[in-house]
């Protein structure tokens, strides 16, 4: 029942704060990686190069789906912003369902700005079904497709080192975040401005995906404080009972 209560509280807070954020948008703290991302989007449109967005291997039937869905929310906004570019963004993923959703999201983004005829279904790609076949397929996209910035957002494993290395070899910007701890440490060592922990889920808010994404960040902060208080209270009670 505690879990259900926690879920209900999160849902109520999300709805309430979304309505509040629509009326009074707030300001977000500076995250260097997202500043770089916004610059990279503008640069790609101006220089006629391509953005490469990789959504990882997050299976939608597993607990890893959250990071994949966060990547898709960001993709939706980026596809709108880059729809005027000569070279549309390329999206790779390592899960078939995720690849189909990425195609749908790209199409929705183009439709929203009235450029649906620009959409090509081959820009949303399944790169491979195993970790290393996915890496092999994605590395060839990084090398061969005039990519100026690589954005890796989702569930990655150790194979992310190969992707980061390929990006480095091509001298392209790398903006990377993952829900996987191994991948986080690899991206920490490989990218100029690392994104750690839940910063992955802030992507939507920082690319202007709307009030609900900003509200999500507020709700996360509130819930985090509640958890911190619960941990402290639990520690004090345990200490008290042992004395």
């Amino acid at each position: 029942m505690v879990a259900f209560g926690f879920l209900a509280l999160a849902a109520i807070l999300l709805v309430a704060l979304t309505l509040w954020r629509r009326r009074s948008p707030g300001s977000l703290r500076l995250i260097d990686a997202y500043e770089r991302l916004n610059r990279a989007v503008g640069l790609a449109v101006e220089s006629g190069t391509r953005l490469h967005i990789s959504l990882g291997r997050g299976n939608l039937f597993s607990t890893r789906a959250g990071s994949a869905l966060a990547g898709l929310a960001m993709l939706r906004r980026l596809s709108e912003r880059t729809s005027v570019s000569d070279r549309p963004p390329v999206v790779t993923s390592g899960d078939a369902s995720l690849a189909i959703l990425s195609q749908d999201t790209l199409r929705s983004g183009y439709r929203a700005v009235g450029a649906e005829d620009q959409y090509r279904f081959t820009t949303g790609r399944l790169a491979g079904l195993t970790p290393f076949s996915y890496a092999a397929g994605t590395v060839s996209t990084i090398h061969d497709e005039s990519v100026s910035a690589n954005i890796f957002m989702g569930d990655f494993g150790a194979e992310s080192a190969l992707l980061a290395e390929a990006s480095d070899r091509e001298n392209t910007s790398l903006i990377a975040a993952s829900d996987n701890l191994s991948a986080q440490s690899i991206f920490y060592a490989s990218s100029q401005e690392p994104l750690v922990g839940e910063e992955l889920f802030a992507a939507g808010a920082y690319v202007g995906a709307g009030a609900s994404h900003e509200a999500s960040l507020n709700v996360q902060d509130i819930l985090r404080w509640l958890i911190i208080l619960a941990i402290i209270l639990g520690s004090v009670l345990k200490l008290g009972s042992s004395l």
């Binding site: 849902a11 959250g66 279904f121 195993t130 290395e165 690899i186």
Partner: protein, 205 residues
């Protein structure tokens, strides 16, 4: 149609979620919906493979870089797919394809990965010189030294090594829990946005 897909997706998501909390009332419906989703995911793999072939065909047709690899990929895929359909996945030929081609290729990529990781660590300080980077690298090196097997046994003695590992794990376990709590909260809120139809990755908006 778009409203219908959104309503169906949200209803299915809510039923599956509530099924965890109210198993007696909703369990059978939850399992039915999950079974449907698994069947659809199976079909999605075929659609994904079609997409993979289409991308490679376009590369070959337009003479893009890497088109030759695309030819090899399509031929290999066709042979493996047809052989698998005719002989079944447990046939010795299919197992041979797995053991003689896929396993060695993935193992060699794993070997490259080890080199890549060491190289990335060395370049870390060239890319970003700050306290956290130095700390990150120093702890990784100390941890590796502590667990390094030597002909003389553990470097700092059995108890010394264990104490060092325990000391480092005290911080890493705390940090890991903090990161995982953050990720769990992010996942929860992302899921709620999809359930409320605010984010519609299935093409509804």
């Amino acid at each position: 149609m778009r409203i219908f897909t959104a309503a169906f997706a949200i209803a299915a998501g809510l039923i599956v979620l509530l099924g965890y909390f109210f198993p007696t009332q909703l369990e059978s419906l939850r399992f039915l919906l999950i079974d449907w989703a698994i069947i659809i995911a199976g079909m999605a793999v075929l659609v994904g493979i079609f997409n993979l072939v289409a991308v490679q065909m376009e590369k070959i047709r337009t003479g893009q870089k890497g088109g030759n690899y695309g030819v090899i990929l399509i031929i290999s895929l066709a042979i493996t797919f047809v052989t698998g359909l005719v002989l079944g996945p447990q046939h010795p030929y299919m197992r041979l394809a797995m053991d003689a081609i896929i396993v060695p290729v993935e193992a060699s990529l794993m070997a490259i990965l080890a080199v890549t990781l060491i190289y990335a660590s060395i370049r870390l300080l060239r890319r970003r010189v700050d306290v956290m980077s130095v700390l990150f690298l120093a702890i990784a090196v100390v941890f590796l030294i502590a667990i390094l097997p030597t002909p003389f046994g553990p470097l700092f003695g059995e108890r010394g090594n264990q104490a060092l590992v325990n000391f480092l794990e005290m911080f890493s376990h705390g940090g890991t829990r903090g990161l995982l709590i953050g990720i769990a909260l992010g996942t929860l809120l992302t899921g709620l946005r999809v359930l409320f139809g605010i984010d519609r990755p299935y093409g509804g908006n």
